[in-house]
């Protein structure tokens, strides 16, 4: 066994951390949250220059072919900074879809653009029913000549408002779920940002007679769900890494507040009630983070992690909520303000809970994976 990161990985972690500490302090995070764009183009460009977009992309398409563990590290650090950006939508969700299921032409055309920071992408999977299941994808894509025509509504499409291209999951008659590359600026598309607890870019996207060329089918018609399923495990690992990074700062900022804040002549961190909360938070963190690392390693080794990613997401959902919620409680009143940073994480924990399956969804998937 070797549970250490390589020195390159430690360096990567350090450089992401330093970059975000300098470029995106929490004051900037709040400004971004309050902006329409929900991200800072300037930082996006800089990140591309630093080479963080293409870390895991295959060398053949201009990437570094690094282990996914490295992406996990980047996400963990982004979670610590509560950094709002389309990294997850573009590099993780759509990047994985393209690397796992795209045609040669698509990979050659799109992955280098993502790497250069010139292409922002968003995945349009969920619909009005808000199901995580393949049966939730009902939007029809009708073949007409050598084009498909999309009509319908997609919900909870994160970053659609700033995306250049969307990957849209739709149902093709006789073939089944199919993924389409769609120009986000198509005149038949209406995109509206919805107000949400995460103050993020979750959008409603309405498609009216949007025409897509056959060449813009990702992989082959009818293969959509299969491709999504190949994307899910690593995307869940990445999301959980971000959430765990957020847990870590939540604990750290709460512990330091508890040492400073004096009531009844004592630092509140000296009260046993507070100490027990903090001990539980630490327990939640240490159990989850080591499991995250294990599952990320398994995925890099090419093992089947269907079971593990469900266990992981359910565990991290619960712990992130617990840790950030107790973090607010220990801060007292100031913890509930816009000014103090712990509430950023309290809000974001709720938003993260729904990403790629909520807790109850993953409990059920895990039960099934366990043969029940």
């Amino acid at each position: 066994m070797n549970l250490d990161f390589t020195s390159e990985q430690e360096m990567l972690r350090k450089s992401v951390a330093e970059f975000l500490a300098k470029e995106c302090p929490f004051e900037t995070v709040k400004e971004i949250e309050e902006s329409d764009e929900g991200y800072l183009p300037k930082l996006w460009k800089k990140m591309a220059e630093l080479g963080w977009m293409e870390v895991y992309f295959p060398e053949a398409y201009g990437g570094y072919s690094d282990p996914f563990m490295d992406v996990m590290i980047i996400m963990e650090e982004m979670g610590k900074a509560a950094y709002p950006s389309p990294f997850f939508s573009t590099v993780i969700l759509c990047g994985l879809i393209l690397t796992e299921g795209g045609t040669e032409d698509q990979k050659n055309a799109l992955l280098p653009k993502i790497a250069n920071g010139k292409l922002i992408m968003a995945l349009a999977q969920y619909e009005e029913e808000a199901s995580y299941q393949p049966t939730g994808i009902r939007m029809p894509a009708e073949l007409s000549g050598d084009q498909y025509v999309l009509n319908g509504t997609k919900m909870f499409v994160t970053d659609a408002n700033i995306a250049d291209k969307l990957i849209v999951a739709a149902d093709v008659k006789d073939a089944g779920i199919t993924l389409f590359l769609v120009d986000a600026k198509d005149p038949g598309i209406t995109c509206t940002k919805m107000p949400a607890i995460g103050m993020d870019n979750t959008c409603e996207v309405i498609f009216k007679d949007v025409k897509v060329s056959k060449d813009d089918v990702v992989g082959n018609p009818g293969r959509g769900w299969e491709i999504l399923e190949r994307m899910f495990p690593k995307a869940i690992i990445a999301k959980c890494a971000e959430m765990m990074g957020s847990c870590k700062v939540s604990i750290d900022m709460t512990a330091s507040y508890a040492k400073e804040r004096v009531q009844y002549g004592k630092p509140i961190g000296g009260f046993q009630a507070i100490q027990h909360y903090m001990a539980n938070m630490q327990l939640g963190y240490d159990t989850s983070i080591n499991y995250l690392y294990k599952v990320a390693w398994m995925a890099d080794e090419g093992m089947d992690v269907t079971k593990e990613v469900s266990a992981l997401k359910a565990q991290v959902n619960e712990q992130y909520k617990y840790i950030s919620e107790r973090g607010v409680q220990i801060h007292g009143g100031v913890g509930t303000t816009r000014e103090f940073n712990i509430a950023l994480f309290y809000r974001r924990a709720k938003a993260a809970e729904y990403v790629l399956g909520d807790t109850d969804y993953h409990y059920e998937k895990l039960a099934q994976a366990l043969g029940m």
């Binding site: 808000a130 919805m194 004096v262 913890g335 938003a351």
Partner: protein
């Protein structure tokens, strides 16, 4: 034993019910559950609060439980409890939690006759709204360590200091202020209570934004603010004992469980009419169990609230003090569970703030953000648990 209400009490409930059901049709859009955010975050919200207060004042319902000498009808507490339950169920405003809930009873026990005659009637008429000037940046749970001073100068007290968290100060007419009148004193000695008119020169109010960016709470700065000495409530330097009584009034709410029950019923309606993955949400055993658990919470919480009310009526305040802490802890944490389970049950929609897309008008996700605040204010749940252990169970208390 008899848990039933009398016929008169049932009729009264019906009367309240008809009134609130009708009046709530006038609520502004996106009104919410009638909490601090509903009232103070928007101008329309506060206008509706004032409108309702006036109506309730005209009906004499604000002061029903007050002694006759202060213009009340001296009805038994249980009637007020029923009133609060029904009002909570409809999320209706009109009762100023600070003026009516906390300061009026404080005046009744601590003010002189001139003050009672001057200050109580406008509260009863629903015309004057209060805010609570207690907390300071360095004095939260440990309120007695506060440092705002009020120094006697002829017929005035001159106030300097910084209050924080003051809910609704930007809308309030008056504040009940706790300040240090003896600058050489420490902790609970040397504090006094004042009635402060909010437009006195030298008072500056700045917003303290909540996590969702709403303006409900405030920082209030006092710079050489001159308060007439006649507005000292009770004796100089003896404000702590009076404030302890105000705290008891603050904590003995108890009408909140019917409001939580209303939320549970709203969620039940939602799951019975929302399909996902080919089934109604109400067919999902996990959803069913969550709602069953919440319902149990509202039932047992309400039963405890009845007991507290009954004991208070009988004068069994020793039991009631620790039980009021239990009710505060249980009620706030139940509200938190309601909001969390509801937003879990809604799936992806659970994250949406009030908007055309949000189920139940986004009340549940608003509640999810407000819940931690309720666990902290009016004596944090840690402080309440300390009291339950020390007062209720007589466990040792380490210094």
């Amino acid at each position: 034993m008899d848990f039933s209400f009398t016929k008169e009490q049932e009729e009264l409930r019906e009367e309240f019910d008809v009134f609130f059901k009708e009046e709530m049709k006038n609520a502004p859009p996106k009104w919410g559950k009638g909490g601090l955010e509903s009232i103070y975050a928007t101008d329309e919200g506060f206008e509706f609060h004032k409108y309702m207060a006036k109506k309730l004042g005209e009906k004499g319902w604000i002061s029903r439980a007050w002694p006759k000498e202060y213009g009340g009808q001296a009805v038994p507490l249980i009637e007020q409890f029923i009133f609060n339950e029904v009002r909570g169920y409809y999320g209706a405003p009109g009762i100023d939690g600070f003026g009516v809930g906390m300061f009026a009873p404080t005046l009744m026990v601590g003010a002189n006759e001139e003050q009672k005659n001057r200050l109580l009637p406008p509260i009863a008429r629903g015309e004057v709204f209060y805010c609570q000037g207690w907390s300071e940046p360095d004095a939260g749970s440990d309120l007695a360590s506060l440092s705002t001073t009020a120094i006697r100068d002829g017929d005035y007290y001159v106030v300097n200091g910084h209050k924080t968290w003051t809910s609704g100060a930007h809308k309030a007419d008056h504040m009940f202020l706790l300040a240090r009148t003896d600058p050489d004193s420490t902790r609970s000695r040397g504090l006094s209570v004042f009635n402060v008119v909010m437009d006195y020169p030298g008072i500056e109010i700045r917003p303290l934004l909540f996590m969702d960016n709403k303006h409900v709470y405030n920082e209030v700065y006092f710079k050489d603010v001159r308060i007439p000495a006649k507005d000292l409530i009770g004796k100089e330097n003896e404000g702590w004992a009076l404030t302890r009584q105000t705290m008891n009034f603050e904590r003995s709410g108890g009408g909140g469980f019917l409001s939580a029950k209303k939320s549970v019923f709203d969620i039940i309606d939602y799951v019975k009419s929302t399909r996902r993955d080919g089934k109604l949400l109400s067919e999902n055993p996990v959803v069913r169990q969550k709602l069953a658990k919440l319902y149990i919470g509202t039932e047992v919480g309400q039963a405890l609230a009845y007991r507290i009310n009954y004991e208070q009526e009988k004068g069994g305040l020793i039991f009631a003090a620790s039980a009021a802490s239990e009710s505060k802890v249980f009620g706030t944490e139940l509200a938190q569970r309601v909001a969390n389970y509801a937003t879990e049950i809604m799936g992806l929609y659970g994250q949406l703030a009030p908007s055309k897309w949000a189920p139940l008008d986004g009340e549940m996700i608003d509640g999810y953000q407000f819940a931690p605040a309720a666990n902290i204010y009016a004596g944090s749940n840690e402080i309440q648990r300390n009291l339950i252990a020390w007062v209720g169970l007589n466990l040792p208390r380490f210094k």
